[in-house]
Amino acid sequence: MCLLDGLLVMTIRTRFTGLKVISFLIIAVVSLPLIYLVLRASASGIDGINYLLQPRTLTILSNSILLTIAVVIASAVIGTLFAWITTRTNLPMRRVVLILGLMPMVIPSYIGALTLVAAFGPVGYLQQILEPLGIRRLPEIYGFFGASFAITIFTYPYFVLPVRAALLGMDRSLEEAAQSLGCSRWQIFWRVTLPALRPSIAAGALLTALYTLSDFGAVMVMRYNAFARAIYVTYNSSFDRSRAALLALVLVALTLLLVQLERRVTHKAQTYRAGKGTTTITKKLRLGRWQIPAFGFCAVLIGIGTLLPIGILLGWALNPHVISPIDMKLGEASWSAVTTSVLTAVVVALAALPLAIVARRTTSYWSRRLVNLTYIGNALPGIVIGLALVFFGANSMPALYQTLPLLILGYTVRFLPYGLAATGSALAGVNPAFDETAQSLGLRPWQRLFRVTIPLTWASIIAGMALVFLNTMKELPTTLMLSPIGFVTPATRIWMASEAGMLALIGLPGLILIGLSCVGLAILLWRDNLKG
């Protein structure tokens, strides 16, 4: 019976077989390097286990966990408060404050961290200002404090967006019900508002935790020995590269644990909604005497997270002494980055199409499972992907090692989830009834593709490609590890300049990357508008 069923289903779905084979190949290519990394790491056997049990490894682990916890807590408090102030109160210039407050999201962490060091580090701007007042030493910025400070500043927007959405979508009558049952403002916040925000805060926390674990730039700049930095340093300094692979494996395990947790939480969040709740909250809370502290809080946040980095970059870029021979390479670097990024975007879009179709249009459990697997790439730190491809390239395909194709493969593994999300959601937006209507009106499959599916999905697919393009432009660790000799992008230019201590050279490429990220954010918002 079961066999017969299977045969029947197979026959119905034969037209997907070709696509499934292609999808399987894509998934294989994308996951091979990671599998190779696992094999390579496990090949070190007892030695490997001994290495992992060394105090140094445990320190790295506890460093990473501590950093993650600190960042999540700090970002949650700051992000939730900021979202609440800008959504629920009568703070003047709310919209401007909100947009400026979201800006840190578009500042790559390595650029942000560099500017923070320039401002608050030893011999930084703040110390120069305070020097005449007799303050000789500022608290140490390098290490745990600096890393958690920098990452918090650049991740709290991950809380602002979901919390704001939850606040805006919240049923007004919930808070009014609490009020009519005798609750004060403060009690309402703790007993009704905060519990309603719990799923959004949890989602933001997991996103932030994943970001913190995979962040490369801030921990490098702040010299904090969390996984990303430890892996890079180990990789660069020791002959036995399998140690880097071992560390990467622990990081992957930690990441997968978080991804699993995230699935639980988002699933729970979906069952949380009870009523339809149509009335939304429009009334703003009068801040009264709290207006100045609230405004001050937002001002400090925006000052440190947005104005300071951009101001410092501007200052560097406008410095008249920077025009040095090395900087002439910026144009060249930009051009090579643009071409590789465009190529990556095209490759990702082409790879995502069959995967998305298989995931959406078949009901086979295993096909869907496999496609879901590629989403994990989203959570994998760039440093791990870079490392995996280095191993894979150097050992199995020496011809490809340090070539452009391997770099693009690395980018593809890293950013395929973006393409998949864009194409997948575009396909999900196409009501099957449209296709069936076209069919009943006598259109052949390819006619339906060109006259129904593509007109309905192209905008979203293009938006996805743009996102891949922009993220590739910004990507640092993958580029550092995989680029051919002499290959330079604005991101690696910034990196080299900072290692050489030539901070002034960072100004222009930094501003260019931030500008590009702004475009990316605009595209994301545009796509969401298309959907809604």
């Binding site: 049923d171 009558s173 919930l174 009014e176 019900a177 609490a178 009020q179 009519s180 049952l181 005798g182 609750c183 004060s184 007993r191 009704v192 519990p195 309603a196 719990r198 069952t271 949380y272 909604r273 009870a274 009523g275 339809k276 709740g277 149509t278 009335t279």
Partner: protein
């Protein structure tokens, strides 16, 4: 002594007079309906009583304490007014017992929750989460939660609009018995005249932010003060006529008047006052359509001179579309001066 009093209360939203000089008196234990079309200000009136909105002018007092007036602003949490929201607004993160206990203080919380669960007949549901309940059950829990702190007044906003028609009548009966048992003073808002007439001790009909008439359901139906109310509360036919003292002459002949009038008027004839006779002489109308409801039927008729009317007849009467009949009016009729 009235428990709740609104005295010349007004509230504007921008240029719109949402509530326009309303005065209302509600006695202890009374069940009052605010009835009106959407946008008439009935929900705003309810929210003014609850304290979610503040009047621009006028005074609201509960139990002889002014809660809203010049320089007096008692916040909703200090008013002892319970509210049942249209969408129930059960806290999704708390179970049924947690929801009911939400407004309670002190040690006998548990006991009061059990009492309330028993009152609404859901004693076995204490540990359920709101999304596990049916619409009717959610509503009873919302009722229990609002009643638990023993509020002075209970407000209900469109309490039955979220239930499907089949369930509505049953839930309505349950809710009324729960509320009567609790002895609460209630005000509820509805746009459904049947709901208002069947549930309330008194109905206040609202149009354009004003209370057009407040009366017992029966009186409201039989003696509407104007044409708008007559057609909003129940179904109505209007015929032009000429009144002279105690009778009026119109298309359906010389009819007795309930109240003396004179001059050009409009005659209100309720559908059930029309009788359709199958006689052979003086056939003055034709049957155009027929809707059968089981307990009775609605019949559309066209008078010879082209005026169409709606009649109601009991279910046993047999009519066919196209049949010609004689139309008569039973009882005295009411008239409104022609505008």
């Amino acid at each position: 002594m009235s428990l709740l009093e609104l005295h010349q209360v007004s509230l504007r939203f921008g240029s719109v007079k949402a509530v326009d000089d309303i005065s209302l008196n509600v006695q202890k234990g009374q069940f009052v309906a605010l009835l009106g079309p959407s946008g008439c200000g009935k929900t705003t009136t309810l929210r003014l009583i609850a304290g979610f909105e503040w009047p621009d002018s006028g005074i609201i007092s509960i139990k002889n304490r002014i809660v809203a007036g010049e320089n007096i602003r008692v916040t909703p949490e200090e008013r002892r007014v319970g509210m049942v929201f249209q969408e129930y607004a059960l806290f999704p993160h708390l179970d049924v017992a947690g929801n009911i206990a939400f407004g309670l203080r002190g040690a006998d919380k548990r006991k009061r929750v059990d009492e309330m669960l028993a009152l609404v007949g859901l004693s076995d549901y204490a540990k359920r989460m709101p999304h596990e309940l049916s619409g009717g059950q959610q509503q009873r829990i919302a009722l229990a939660r609002a009643l638990a702190p023993a509020p002075d007044v209970l407000l209900l906003d469109e309490p039955f609009s979220n239930l499907d028609a089949a369930l509505r009548t049953q839930v309505r009966t349950e809710v009324r018995s729960i509320l009567k048992k609790s002895g609460a003073t209630c005000i509820f808002v509805t746009h459904d005249q049947e709901e208002a007439l069947s549930l309330a001790d008194e109905v206040a009909v609202m149009f354009n932010g004003q209370v057009a008439q407040m009366a017992e359901p029966q009186r409201l139906y039989s003696h509407p003060v104007n044409r708008n109310i007559a057609s909003f509360v129940g179904e109505a036919n209007f015929l032009p006529g000429e009144a002279n003292g105690h009778s009026v002459s119109c298309l359906l002949g010389q009819l007795p008047l309930a109240q003396a009038a004179s001059g050009r008027v409009e005659v209100l004839i309720r559908p059930e006052a029309l009788r359709l006779l199958d006689s052979s002489d003086h056939l003055n109308a034709e049957i155009m359509w027929r809707e059968f409801y089981g307990h009775d039927q609605r019949i559309g008729i066209l008078l010879n001179d082209g005026k169409s009317l709606i009649a109601r007849a009991d279910s046993s009467a047999n009519y066919t579309v196209g049949q010609r009949v004689t139309v008569e009016v039973t009882g005295a009729v009411q008239t409104f001066a022609k505008l």
